[in-house]
Symmetry: C2
Subunit: 247 residues, 2 copies
């Protein structure tokens, strides 16, 4: 079972202050790239795995999805998601339910699009999860996900340091040593699962997916112009974005 840190009081409060929590999808700099991978959702049956506050579910509903389902482990996230729905006339209703994604159950061939944003690095059993998602998609159905980039989850001590030359470097170690990492992110003791890029990709292929997109995300020129501080992300990408298809 994945750690349910999002129901922790201190974490929930701190998480709520993040730009992506306050501003939604527009506060997530990787969203334009991710949205391009998701593609057109009009008329599609969509599931969001690790839906959090439901920003993506609401966007999908407004974009004309045939049905929208949001699944999360954190009761408080789901409560806020359900409360925040601002219904658009004619948009599909969003159905939220609580599941541990490490025990995920979905009906076979019931979705056209599966989506998961920054959730997979919490899951303990990635293979089981991917197999379940694969089977829940129709032939030609798409799975798009983002995860914390493995360069971020690998280090014993994640965080830029200054080297002897005075240059900022990202201190990589234990990259091939996959498994849990306990870090201080918003609160102490957050457990993330470190996996290599090769493991994410190989697990998808083993589950029967065809890989269609692999992006190691960093800010583009326009984003850097408005947020110069983001240039550190060019030294090591913060996010891995992946698109795959059930073939």
């Amino acid at each position: 079972m994945a750690q349910n840190i999002y129901d922790d009081d201190a974490f929930f409060d701190a998480y709520g202050q993040l730009p992506r929590s306050v501003r939604g999808l527009d506060g997530a700099p990787e969203w334009p790239t991710l949205r391009a991978l998701v593609g057109d959702v009009a008329g599609r049956r969509v599931v969001d795995l690790g839906c959090g506050y439901g920003w993506f579910c609401r966007w999908v509903a407004d974009a004309g999805a045939a049905s929208v389902r949001g699944i999360d482990l954190a009761e408080r996230m789901l409560a806020r998601a359900a409360a925040e729905r601002d219904p658009t006339p004619g948009a599909a209703a969003i159905h939220y339910d609580r599941q541990d994604l490490d025990q995920l159950e979905l009906a076979p061939r019931s979705f056209d699009v599966a989506y998961s944003s920054l959730t997979l690095h919490y899951l303990v059993d990635l293979d089981r999860f991917l197999s379940t998602v694969h089977d829940a998609l129709v032939t030609g159905g798409r799975f798009v996900f983002s995860a914390e980039h493995p360069l971020c989850t690998a280090p014993s001590h994640p965080g830029f340091v200054t080297d002897a030359r005075g240059r900022s470097i990202w201190p990589v170690d234990r990259y091939l040593d996959q498994g849990p990492r306990t870090t201080n992110w918003l609160v102490p003791g957050v457990v993330k699962q470190h996996r290599t890029i090769a493991t994410y990709v190989s697990s998808l292929l083993d589950a029967g997916f065809r890989l269609t997109d692999l992006v190691e995300w960093g800010p583009d020129a326009e984003q850097l112009a408005s947020e110069p501080g983001w240039s550190v992300e060019l030294d090591r990408p913060p996010f891995l974005l992946v698109g795959a298809e059930r073939s």
Copy 2:
């Protein structure tokens, strides 16, 4: 055009001392993994792109390939490859020829297997190369390659350093800043092209390949037992191994 450092006197001499130069494929710790990706070559038409001394070409010929072609830019490597052939009774002849892989020309649909070991990080025009290789394969044909891992080519100053905690770390910077890196490897001034994993994979997909295998190679338990010093490779993998198929 790729730099032809392998025809440099000092480089050629230093390169000749490496375990993989002296012992051939058995001196390359990633070879067992790469060999598994290559699969059965009996009866296949095989091309080795960046064939060097011809170790792989000879292995393929001895394994019953229908035809074997080795291509390299370095005249001295090719001369040694041609001189070293120890013919196995009944094995296919190996045809060597000199080409800059950045200008590679191959007949369409003329090979079943294409292979390239630790060469692609020298090429300037990866997209052109992959497109040429794709078109040179028959439908269902395989392309297997290794490259220096992007974590190795990224840094301004590649090399393990000791952090303030006394721990050995690999100093990553400029990971998303793709392009040439001039490093000192065997001799000063070796130019390698840094690309991200996502770029290798996306370029393959764009060329029309289906990705079948992605390995971030590190030593296994058996190799570590006989070569304990290789444990540093677990901190950041030295090689990227990739398998793809023309679909």
